[in-house]
Amino acid sequence: MSFPVYILSKLQGCSMRPLAPEALGGAHALWQRDVRLLPAFEPCRNEVYEGYATSGGPGCGAVFICDGVGSSLDAAHALHAAGALPVWTSVLAVSQQSGRGQMRRQWVSPAGNIYAALRFPAASNYPDSLSSLVAGYVFARAFEMCGIDVRMKWPNDLLLDDCKMAGILLEDRNGALLVGIGINVAHFPRADCLREGAAVPACGLAARGFDFAPFELWRQLVDRAFFCYRNEVLRFSEDGLISRLEAYLAWVGRVVMIHGSDLGSCPGRLMGLSHDGALRVLLSGREQVLHSCSLSPIS
């Protein structure tokens, strides 16, 4: 099955910098590589958006490439509102004006990285509270299939050797579950640019010797995430899924610092996941289930 790729210059309900195929190639050397490999784009327009279209080759869902949006999530919400975002369809932003992480934390977004928003299927054979972990898991598996071994920092940051390589945020709005994912491909924030209290240092794929261009990597990731979702996630029993998620969780069995709302910061042993995806930790000899906290390794 072939899927279309769009370059958006206009989208109803979302402001963005108009983008054309040539401009896309000029955004970053890696993007240039991507554009060269795609078939020629043809202009296209409808009531919802305006831009260019081409065929992206085998895959599972359309990709909308845009630039200069507030956040790829905003564009995805706009597409959803217009009924143009089926499940596994995604928005891939070249750069973002106000990329966001958890709790609207700033996500600096220069061109050369992946800032994507993917419409994810609503929870089916697992509780809704697991969605975040499941999204992290399918991408972790997708990276693994691309030869990049990553672990999830609970609930779903993706770590490469204990450094944050990608961040994931789910937004559930108007009946659409969107997975926002920022992947450090060409760039990553230096240690002194991270927010205060950041749990782990950041890293980027290029700096670690992985040679990927943003679109090509994104296409592969979505394809593999889809594969993993269909062939693994949907087939697992609930217990099976939990133990599968645990297998990809960083630091299980280790003592880590737990930063939580009413805990302050204290060391605890990470035991695994509870049935709803919350974290099981051993604090002062007692197993506790934490639904919100952040973790950092103790070196």
Partner: protein, 1238 residues
């Protein structure tokens, strides 16, 4: 201030309130002095968390500071509250604001007396830069370095002057924090920036100074007290050299180091007095020096406060420094005079911190479950600990200060050692065991240490911190009792607390007379040749008993504990069995899985309680006691240990690939007291006929001959040949043929027949083999016999004797006694652990699923919801046996089963039972017809048969386990299993033993990794356990460490625990008897914990046991949204509210976002369900502003809307009019009328 006497101060202070602005140990310590002589009112500050701390008991009054744990730092508020209470003086203690010069200033402003010095004097001495300058003026040596904070160029210049290595120190640092070591000029620049940033972050002051790094130094300090009238007294030195990361751990006075000469001591005291006098400092202070190996002192800093280690000086001199400090603060003249203050004691203090030394000294807050303080002569204890105290995580980890003192260093040290052994703090980890290591370390005893002693002596971390075994076992009993089941048996929740109980296990043990005990075994011991000769020539049929292994091993519950082995072992030992099979196979691994038993220790016990009869073990060729091929060096290590404990070693390979047995043959044949028994795995199927097995036997004898360096004929007389029918499928007639042929071919070869009962033909088959000349047969004791194992000994013997006319030499009376004991034991195991299926299945001759696997596979199918597919799976097995031909013996049987399971369930998922039936039809066709007769459709369809197989099956096809006994299967099998890769798979097949590909293990590295985990040197046995089954070995070792030897608990207690009120008597491993009674088991609290209170040997204890999952759905006390009310907006699920967008009175449109909930990084936008006006906002949050999230429960009402009241009639405006009674629209100014009601 006028000169006062001490007595005048006593008068002045009596009955007046003095505040200690501190908590914990210092607060308690100071309150004691306030009350002792002064008879003043001791008032202590306390935050909510500290109100009930043990330290608070020392105060007569508490000055409450509220909920904020940091309130001790708010000087102004404390002073304000103190004034309100009428406090006359404040003691700052140590830590918190004790070194903040603003404290004395603010006290002075408020008219309060500060028990300390003046701000000015504190500034002059307390600031490291200032005091350096002062010291230089006075000619006191200081560590070479910069004068004050420097920038990078200056730092570089100074570093060059004084030479590398140097240290960068934060001006605002202290207590060892903010120090960076720089080894060369290159490192300086980078380190400077980093250090400065960290200093800013940590101390709010980025300034750094440079200091020479002194490699080996001791930390020596002089305590000084001075009054306002110019009198100064300097005490003998304290040696605080034992530090970790610059934090003092142990303090000693006087220093035991020989480098502290009387001259040096006098010099240091003189320097200290000069400094204090120079600035007019009064109160207590400590002057700290570093002293190098050659006795050169350098001043480092002055602490202008009471110090943690002041107690040892008090013990040395028999005084109360706090009392003196208070008196001096009130203007008293110093009472201490050099002439009459003769120090008489040596004293040493250890800081008992609630930290886990082995876990990098991680702080360890939590409930103190047990507390026994040391006492007796020469002990002083200042503590903030007691039983039942929930040690808080908000403050530092100081639990107590333990001081030992006495005449001389050796006496003080011995007293300390004794006190540490007396000291019990349960429930949390402390530094006590770590100090026990230090006080016995030779370097410490010799005072041969510097400030790097801890860092450079890693062996201090190697210890096991264990409570007495009885306490640990009692905790295990409490856990089993509270849960109702034993979680360590790993059989899920097999019972609850309400399940009816078995009667107490009180076995009746028939006597074994001493005459019987003293009678020697009929079998020669320790001499292989003699033993085999005897078996060959005796004219008896011999028996091996498998009760303790094959019958009682198949899951983690029915495997006997050593405790029960020890009951039946002595009987079995006197039954005249050829051997007792008591080890190997799953028995080895399952020991660790559930019984917390060390398998070789168990074997050693067997050799003690059943010494006469040979012990037999079963090993799995290349895997030995594991599940995958082992490297040769591990094989040898395990092999030697096996030969130390067992005399008959049966070794089988599920493919009969003889090369796989060779490394073990090399070990076993080398031991003259050990009999090697290679075993042939038997199947009953096409191709596996008598000639085939004769070939296998020949190959075995060839291998043995080669290893032993003898002829094949000679080899046949040196070993026993095992015939292993694990599935229990070979019919009697086949056994007659096979044994007859073997006996004929190798008359000297002793044959040992092992078979399972599965097909129901055990007795005739064993009879047939015996009749045909098999020398030894395997049976078990009646009460233990289940159909998945061996048959029963007495009935088999009766058949052999009465029906076949052969002879046996069994002690049948002893077998009956043993059976009687087993009849009492088995019900306990059966009750909770009986496998699903225990009956006969004659169809095994088709599907060949081995004994134990029949029931466990059925259990697996049931638990996964596929029981309806079991008949299909067995049919699939039967078909597959005809395609991929090998022996249905562990681990091959597991591969067979998994392949069938996956094929059938996958087909079922694809197209239901119809698809499964189709698959089996294909299989049937493929096995019934020759290749030439198969249609092309069938050839295509058969590729579906193994498309769902797993890696193990594919590895089997590749030859990775060894050579397939009848050769590789047809190519289409590879096409099916490997898909497009099949050609490559076929090309990569091998018939070489997997041993050729397994590289030796780096045993030293493995051992280092293991030591890292268990924090001590393992025993040889533990190491072998670890190398074979790492995860389970570690769990067993840790469980054993946690609970002791559970074999000391009676059988019913092991499975069921005890009821409250019932008495349990048990004996620990040292033979000490104990008594335990559970008083109560509370209902679980919301975190799922039950508190078990119990009496152990007259001491009441309690332990929290997690008996249920914490339930987070407690919505009690919260207002719930009415789902039927469209204006009620609820939290969609449990989560954290992090942003609320609306306020009461806001007008919202349908679909507008009201608030957002974060659930593990899934942000759920909650939208207005209708147009409306916000009436109430029950919860609010603004994470971006205040970094606070508010936990909410699913269904909880968060926002309540109301109907839109009125809209402005102006079409261009249409704003809602939310203010009642206005006549004009507040937005556009249009006049309103009644008609515009919405």
């Amino acid at each position: 201030m006028a000169i006062k006497t001490f007595n005048q101060v006593l008068e002045e202070v009596k009955g007046k309130p003095i505040l200690v602005a501190n908590r914990g140990i210092p607060a308690r310590r100071i309150c004691r002095s306030i009350r002792e002589r002064f008879d003043a009112v001791a008032v202590m500050t306390a935050t909510d968390i500290d109100k009930t701390s043990p330290a608070a008991s020392a105060a007569q009054e508490l000055l409450l500071l509220g909920s904020d744990p940091r309130a001790y730092l708010d000087i102004d508020r404390i002073i304000r509250l103190a004034k309100q209470r009428g406090i006359i003086a404040i003691h700052p203690g140590w830590g918190f604001s004790s070194e903040d010069p603003r404290f004395p200033s603010r006290c002075a402003e408020a008219g309060l007396l500060y028990i300390g010095s003046t701000a000015e004097a504190m500034n002059l001495l307390g600031n490291k830069v200032q005091v350096r300058r002062l010291a230089k003026q006075l000619g006191i040596p200081v560590v070479p370095g910069s004068e004050g904070a420097v920038d990078v160029p200056t730092g570089r210049k100074i570093a060059e002057e004084i030479g590398f290595p140097v240290m960068l120190k934060a001006e605002g640092g202290g207590g060892g924090r903010g120090i960076f070591l720089i080894k060369s000029q290159d490192e300086l620049e980078d380190a400077f920036v980093k250090a400065s940033t960290m200093a800013q972050a940590s101390f709010g002051n980025p300034r750094l100074y440079v200091e020479k790094y002194l490699p080996s130094v001791r930390h020596i300090e002089i305590q000084v007290i001075a009054d306002m009238h110019g009198n100064v007294f300097a005490f003998d030195e304290r040696d605080c050299t034992v530090q970790r990361n610059h934090q003092k751990l142990i303090e000693i006075t006087p220093s035991p180091w020989k480098g502290i000469t009387p001259e040096l001591r006098a010099r240091l005291k003189d320097y200290s007095r000069q400094l204090v006098q120079e600035v007019g400092y009064y109160s207590l202070c400590t002057v700290e020096f570093l002293v190098t190996d050659d006795g050169t002192p350098y001043l480092i800093e002055v602490n202008t406060r009471l110090q943690v280690e002041h107690g040892i000086t008090e013990c040395r001199y028999g005084i109360d420094l706090v009392e003196e400090q208070i008196a001096v603060a009130f203007g008293a003249q110093l009472r201490l005079k050099e002439d009459d203050m003769v120090p008489t004691q040596h004293a040493i203090q250890v800081r008992i911190n609630c930290e886990s030394p082995q876990n990098d000294f991680a702080p360890n807050a939590g409930l103190v479950t047990r507390y026994v303080s040391p006492g007796g002569p020469g002990i002083r204890l200042d503590s903030n600990l007691s039983a039942g105290y929930e040690f808080p995580s908000n403050y530092d980890s100081a639990g107590s200060l333990l001081i030992a003192y006495g005449k001389g260093w050796e006496k003080a040290l011995a007293t300390l050692n004794r006190a540490l052994r007396e000291y019990v703090v349960g429930g949390i980890k402390t530094t006590i065991p770590f100090f026990k290591q230090i006080v016995k370390h030779p370097k410490f005893l010799d005072a041969d240490f510097d400030t790097n002693f801890i860092a450079r002596t890693p062996e201090l971390m190697c210890y096991t911190d264990l409570e007495p075994e009885a306490e640990r076992l009692a905790r295990l009993v409490a856990e089993i009792s509270a849960k109702g089941y034993n979680p360590h048996v790993k059989l899920d929740e097999y019972r609850t607390r309400e399940t009816p109980r078995m009667p107490d296990f009180r076995p009746v043990l028939p006597e074994i007379t001493s005459r019987v005990r003293k009678t020697a075994s009929p079998y020669p011991v320790g001499d292989r040749a003699a033993l085999l000769d005897m078996v060959r020539d005796s004219g008896y049929v011999h028996f091996t008993d498998t009760t303790a292994r094959d019958i009682t091993q198949s899951n983690s519950g029915n495997r006997f504990r050593l405790a029960e082995d020890a009951l039946i072992g002595p009987y079995l030992d006197n039954c005249n069995f050829f051997s007792l099979e008591n080890g190997g196979g799953a028995h080895f691994h399952v020991a660790m899985l559930a019984n917390m038993t060390y398998p070789f220790t168990e074997a050693a016990h067997w050799n003690q309680f059943a010494p006469k009869t040979a012990k037999q073990i079963l090993i799995r060729s290349t895997n030995i006691l594991g599940y995958k091929p082992q490297p040769r060096n591990l094989m040898r290590l395990t092999g030697e240990m096996i030969c130390d404990h067992y005399q008959i070693i049966r070794c089988f390979d599920f493919l009969n690939h003889v090369d796989n047995m060779r490394p073990f043959a090399e070990v076993a044949l080398n031991r003259s007291g050990v009999v090697f028994e290679p075993a042939i795995s038997l199947s009953w199927a096409r191709g596996f006929d008598v000639p085939h097995y004769l070939q296998v036997t020949e190959a075995i004898l060839r291998m043995v001959a080669d290893v032993a360096g003898v002829s094949s004929a000679k080899a046949s007389s040196m070993i026993i040949l095992g015939l292993k029918d694990m599935a229990g499928v070979c019919p009697p007639r086949f056994m007659t043929e096979l044994v007859t042929a073997l006996r004929k071919a190798w008359p000297q070869l002793v044959l040992h027949y092992h078979r399972h009962f599965t097909d129901g033909l055990f007795v005739p088959a064993v009879g047939a083999a015996a009749k045909a000349g098999a020398h030894i047969v395997d049976t078990a004791i009646g009460a233990s016999v289940r159909w998945y194992g061996q048959g029963e000994v007495l009935s088999t013997a009766a058949y052999i004797e009465d029906e076949l006319g052969l002879k046996t030499n069994l002690n049948k009376e002893m077998i009956r006694s043993c059976n009687f004991v087993l009849k009492q034991i088995m019900p306990y195991y059966d009750r909770y652990t009986a496998p699903y299926f225990q009956g006969i299945d004659y169809d095994v001759v088709e599907h060949a699923m081995p004994g134990g696997a029949t029931s466990s596979s059925q259990e697996g199918a049931m638990k996964q919801g596929y029981i309806h597919l079991l008949p299909y799976m067995l049919k699939f097995l039967a078909g597959t046996r005809k395609i991929v031909r090998y022996h249905d013996v562990t681990p091959g049987s597991q591969i067979t089963w998994n392949t069938a399971f996956l094929a059938v369930t996958s087909a079922y998922k694809r197209g239901g039972e119809q698809e499964v039936r189709y698959l089996l039809e294909v299989l049937d066709n493929v096995t019934r017809h020759s290749e030439a007769d198969l249609s092309s459709e069938m050839k295509e369809a058969r590729l579906a048969l193994y498309q769902d197989s797993n890696d193990a099956f594919r590895d089997l096809l590749m030859g990775k386990y060894g050579k397939l006994p009848l050769g590789f299967p047809a190519d289409w099998v590879y096409q099916s299993a490997f898909g497009n890769e099949w050609q490559r798979a076929v090309n990569c097949r091998t018939e070489t033993s997997p041993l050729e590909f397994v590289e030796d293990m780096d045993l030293a590295a493995e051992e280092r990794g293991f030591v890292d985990i268990i924090r001590r040197k393992p025993t040889d046995e533990e190491f072998v356990m670890y190398l074979n089954h790492p995860g389970d070995a570690v769990a067993t070792i840790q469980l054993r460490q946690q609970f002791g030897d559970p074999n000391n608990l009676p059988l019913h207690v092991w499975f069921e625990g005890i009821e409250p009120g019932r008495e349990l008597n048990f004996t620990d491993s040292h033979g000490k008897p104990h008594q335990m009674t559970i008083l109560s088991i509370s209902l679980p609290d919301e975190s799922g914990m039950s508190v078990v209170r119990y009496v152990l040997d007259s001491e009441i204890m309690s332990v929290d046991i997690q008996v249920a999952e914490p339930h987070a759905d407690d919505v009690q006390g919260l207002e719930k949204a009415d789902p039927a009310n469209a204006y009620h907006v609820a939290a969609p699920s449990n989560g954290d509210l992090w942003v609320m967008y609306v306020h009461p009175g806001d007008y919202v449109k349908k679909g507008e976002e009201l608030f957002n909930i974060s659930i593990m990084k899934q942000e759920k936008a909650v939208l207005a369900p209708v147009d409306g006006m916000v009436r109430r906002v029950l919860r609010t949050a603004d994470y971006k502003e205040n970094k606070q999230m508010v936990p909410v429960k699913g269904g909880e009402l968060i926002v309540e809307l109301g109907p839109v009241p009125t809209l402005c009639p102006n079409e261009k405006c249409r704003h809602p009019i939310t203010i009642e009674g206005v006549g004009f629209c507040p937005y556009c100014g249009d006049k309103l009328d009644c008609a515009c009601k919405a």
